[in-house]
């Protein structure tokens, strides 16, 4: 059964990690764009005001200034809502940050439909697609508060650009302090050989719940938390394809060019098996309560369980 160890928004994991980083490393610099409290970087701002810059509502400058700080020897973290952290300054991220392989870490908060009432303009559903296509970029989509905190702390000490996708809504905590976390290493949460469910971010919890549903029907699912989408853990994916023979991916993101596509790229090259994709199907989000939207857009545990059975039916066909 899926275990829950409390509830907390992932954005606080990002913010709490930054404060801890700031205490032990005076090269950590944080930049905001008028959204400091809502993306949870205000704690760092209060504690280390001389290592914090608020550029105002100016996201291209946000990334450019962060790049300059990296040239000057700092490890800058620039954070704002995901739509504006990834989309508006995309070319700065590409040409200034990635092409120069700068040590810039980008925090993309307010990811996915769970932004809720603000609606489509603020629901980032495309960052995985537009960040994972960039050379040099590391892309992490942690599943809960604890994992976001670990990911944030870890990315400060890998060389080069990193994008961390996290969220605003309170979500279940499903990992523990001593759960394994290593950038680039997927985490097998439960073993099974009938179907592999691979998920990232908030969908890891739904994937676990889906595995509970399937278990009641005698189907043993392998659930894999793929928090690092780039570089992706090819071995764990290929092993799952060989052992389970069918795969479902789940993401709170556009299906096109997203997480599932990243998994599919590994599968088709190495060990093709039937795959189903749970995610947002080529449409914009809309206003609503977070979990109502998850249900409306078909991202619930039941949807994943259905997709699992569909993939299993296609085995050997």
């Amino acid at each position: 059964m899926t275990e829950i160890y409390g509830k907390k928004a992932t954005r606080y994991g990002f913010g709490d990690a930054l404060v801890e980083l700031g205490e032990k490393d005076d090269k950590i610099f944080v930049l905001g764009a008028d959204t400091a409290a809502s993306v949870s970087i205000d704690g760092f701002q209060k504690k280390f005001p001389d290592r914090f810059i608020n550029v105002g509502i100016a996201e291209t400058n946000l990334i450019g200034v962060a790049a300059g700080l990296a040239v000057a020897g700092f490890t800058p973290f620039a954070a704002t809502y995901g739509v504006f952290a990834s989309g508006r300054p995309w070319e700065q991220i590409r040409t200034t940050v990635c092409y120069s392989n700068l040590n810039v870490k980008i925090g993309g908060s307010h990811s996915g439909l769970m932004v809720g009432p603000d609606g489509a303009t603020h629901q980032a559903l495309e960052e995985i697609a537009i960040m994972r296509c960039l050379p040099k970029m590391t892309l992490i989509v942690p599943c809960d508060y604890i994992e976001t905190k670990k990911a944030t702390a870890a990315c400060a000490y890998i060389d080069g650009p990193v994008y961390i996708r996290y969220g605003r809504e309170t979500v279940p905590i499903i990992t523990k302090d001593d759960s394994p976390f290593e950038i680039g290493k997927a985490d097998i949460l439960r073993d099974g050989k009938d179907i592999a469910i691979m998920a990232c971010g908030t969908m890891v919890y739904e994937a676990q719940m889906a595995a509970d549903i399937l278990a009641k029907e005698g189907i043993k699912a392998r659930v894999i938390n793929i928090h690092t989408i780039k570089p992706i853990d090819e071995k764990v994916i290929i092993d799952a394809a060989k052992d389970c023979g069918a795969i479902v991916t789940a993401e709170e993101h556009q299906i096109f060019a997203g997480f599932g596509s990243a998994v599919a790229e590994v599968i088709v090259r190495n060990y093709p098996v039937p795959m189903e994709f749970v995610g947002v199907n080529d449409r914009f989000g809309e206003s609503g309560q977070p979990y109502d939207l998850i249900e409306k857009f078909g991202l619930k545990d039941v949807n994943i369980a259905q997709a699992a059975k569909k993939a299993m039916r296609r085995k050997g066909s």
């Binding site: 400058n61 990334i63 962060a66 790049a67 990296a70 000057a72 092409y99």
Partner: protein, 274 residues
């Protein structure tokens, strides 16, 4: 170093630009030639820069925001013996460190960061200047932009933040040659009055003739004395300066000279310093 020396160096840089572009068969002569004196004065008189230790932590920083004019920077770095003069012949060739726009990943000494997409350099300069200040270091940061580049909105996001952060260690240089690819800047999308715009954003502004070595040097010196705000040097220049058939011609923005044109250009540049 006196003006006579700087004039000779400028002529050498101009000739290298022309030769490089002639060999590569592509590139941007117009804006490279308009920036020559601005960069020669900076690198030979003002910039704290050790060609033997180009990334020394005590250096001043230079960001070439108008990255397409990198031939002038490559030629200046060769004059400083920071890179080998022979390497200039490899411009834009496969495997060369001298990319068509400056590339950090090719590890060419003196290139701080990849540039070439216009409108990005000033933000980078703001970040470096803010970082240097946080470290309580005295180093200065220079960013060279074009006049057409001022049409990019990101320039003004950066300009706003530089004044807000009181970055008096930051100096923007605008090579105002009045031309862009499609024609006269004032016809394409007017950016004038540039000095007033920067002043209204909270900058100290200095307007000069961008080919007059005395005025250029005085401007860099003045910028260093200004406290509490960044400085913008708006340098009126001639696109294609020094080569008669290129001067004030937007058609020479991004076109390489033929073999005959290279010879004619070099004769003209030599004649001007004799």
């Amino acid at each position: 170093m006196d003006n006579a020396d700087l004039k000779i160096i400028s002529a050498c840089v101009r000739k290298d630009i022309i030769k490089m572009l002639g060999l590569s068969g592509s590139g941007h002569p117009g804006g490279s030639l308009s920036s020559v004196e601005l960069l020669v004065s900076l690198y030979f008189k003002h910039l704290k820069f050790n060609p033997k230790k180009p990334f020394d932590p005590s250096r001043d920083y230079f960001v070439l925001s108008k990255g397409h004019v990198c031939p002038v920077l490559y030629a200046v770095l060769a004059q400083l013996e920071c890179i080998d003069a022979d390497e200039l012949c490899t411009l834009r060739q496969a495997g060369s460190r001298l990319q068509g726009h400056p590339a950090k990943d090719k590890e060419l000494p003196g290139i701080e960061i990849s540039t070439g997409s216009l409108g990005y350099g000033l933000s980078i300069g703001v970040g470096i200047a803010a970082g240097v200040k946080q470290l309580k270091k005295e180093n200065r940061v220079f960013v060279l932009m074009g006049d057409g580049e001022q049409q990019e909105g990101s320039v003004w996001e950066a300009a706003m933040s530089a004044a807000h952060l009181k970055l008096d260690n930051l100096c923007a240089i605008i090579d105002d040659n009045s031309l862009q690819i499609d024609g006269q800047t004032q016809d394409i999308m007017n950016i004038a009055p540039l000095a007033e715009k920067y002043a209204s954003f909270g900058w100290h502004t200095i307007e000069i003739d961008g080919h007059n070595l005395d005025e250029i040097s005085a401007a860099y010196a003045q910028a260093e004395t200004v406290k509490g705000k960044p400085s913008a040097i708006i340098a009126k220049t001639v696109k294609g300066k020094g080569v008669s058939f290129m001067e004030n011609q937007s058609s020479w923005h991004g076109k390489a000279p033929s073999k005959e044109q290279v010879e004619q250009a070099i004769q003209e540049i030599d004649a001007a310093v004799k």
